[in-house]
């Protein structure tokens, strides 16, 4: 593992954490779906998956959830965020590695967002011991909108980021 790769992971983790913290300061975007945010930090996870690699994306997400829960002053929230984030990222990674050129980043991101909020609602129902199924339609609509937006952010970022940052030039040199 090269120093450059570790550096990229560290920077992306910092960006994800920053996005997460700043987003927490704003009032909820979707007033009808409690707890649903745009999830700009999910865009960072998706960007990590694309420009660094799948294992790195998982590292960034695990660190973001752990540190985010601590910094947000509510360590217990990791029970909700970490499993949903891992399942969501797992699905996105699988889709990206198998179907990617046929499936756009927006579609991958929507899948991730829908899974994230569904899993989170399921965990919340288990923890609280009361079914929150009635909230599901609102959560799904909000997460579909957020998913497209996040996918678009990731797409535009990778599109306009200099190519030398987006690819591991060491591996490309080896190929040539």
């Amino acid at each position: 593992m090269s120093a450059k790769r570790i550096c990229k992971d560290a920077i992306l983790t910092a960006i994800a954490l920053l996005a997460f913290m700043v987003e927490n300061l704003f009032p909820p975007l979707f007033f009808f779906a409690p707890g649903v945010k745009l999830g700009v930090s999910n865009a960072v996870a998706l960007i990590t998956l694309i420009i660094v690699g799948a294992p790195d994306a998982f590292v960034v997400v695990i660190l973001k959830c752990t540190l985010g829960a601590v910094f947000a002053g509510n360590p217990f929230s990791i029970v909700y965020s970490l499993p949903s984030a891992l399942i969501s990222l797992g699905a996105q990674t699988a889709l990206y590695l198998t179907l990617f050129p046929h499936l756009s980043l927006m579609a991958i991101s929507v899948t991730g967002a829908v899974l994230f909020n569904t899993v989170q609602l399921a965990i919340a129902s288990i923890v609280a011991g009361a079914s929150m199924l009635p909230l599901l339609p609102f959560m799904l609509i909000a997460s579909a909108v957020a998913g497209v937006a996040v996918g678009l952010i990731a797409y535009l970022t990778v599109k306009f980021l200099p190519r030398s940052i987006c690819i591991d030039d060491a591996s490309e040199r080896r190929l040539k």
């Binding site: 690699g53 609280a128 199924l133 909230l135 599109k159 190519r163």
Partner: protein, 127 residues
């Protein structure tokens, strides 16, 4: 396909592609399905407050304020339910606003408190 080739595709090709329609249709289908399942709400009759320790039930047509374990106050007024004075950091429960229809939920996840409006023959089982 290497990751560099994937990056080049993102940089050059169209943002959307042919399989996207499948995913978007699937999402719309799931949303429709969830609306159908969750939309079968009945006449609201009771407010159920579930906490990690206990389960409290109140009629929705009688105005009152209930303080729940020093964590938040549930206000029942004119057939509507809302939360005030929450001590949690995120205040999601307060921002949820008023609920009145059977099947609606306000959740305060940090303290594990869920407030549900239920009806006579509601599909939700609380407990």
């Amino acid at each position: 396909m290497t990751s560099a080739e994937r990056v080049d595709i993102i940089k050059k090709a169209n943002p959307f592609n042919n399989l996207d329609i499948v995913v978007f249709c699937a999402v719309i289908l799931v949303i429709a399905l969830s609306v159908m399942i969750a939309g079968r709400a009945k006449q609201a009759s009771a407010v159920v407050i579930t906490t990690p320790e206990q389960k409290l039930t109140y009629p929705i047509d009688k105005d009152r304020e209930v303080e729940v374990e020093g964590k938040l106050t549930v206000v029942i007024k004119d057939g509507k339910v809302y939360v005030k004075n929450a001590v949690c950091p995120d205040k999601v429960c307060e921002h949820s606003g008023e609920i009145s229809r059977s099947g609606s939920v306000i959740a305060c996840l940090p303290s594990g408190i869920v407030i549900t409006v239920t009806g006579e023959t509601d599909f939700i089982e609380v407990g």
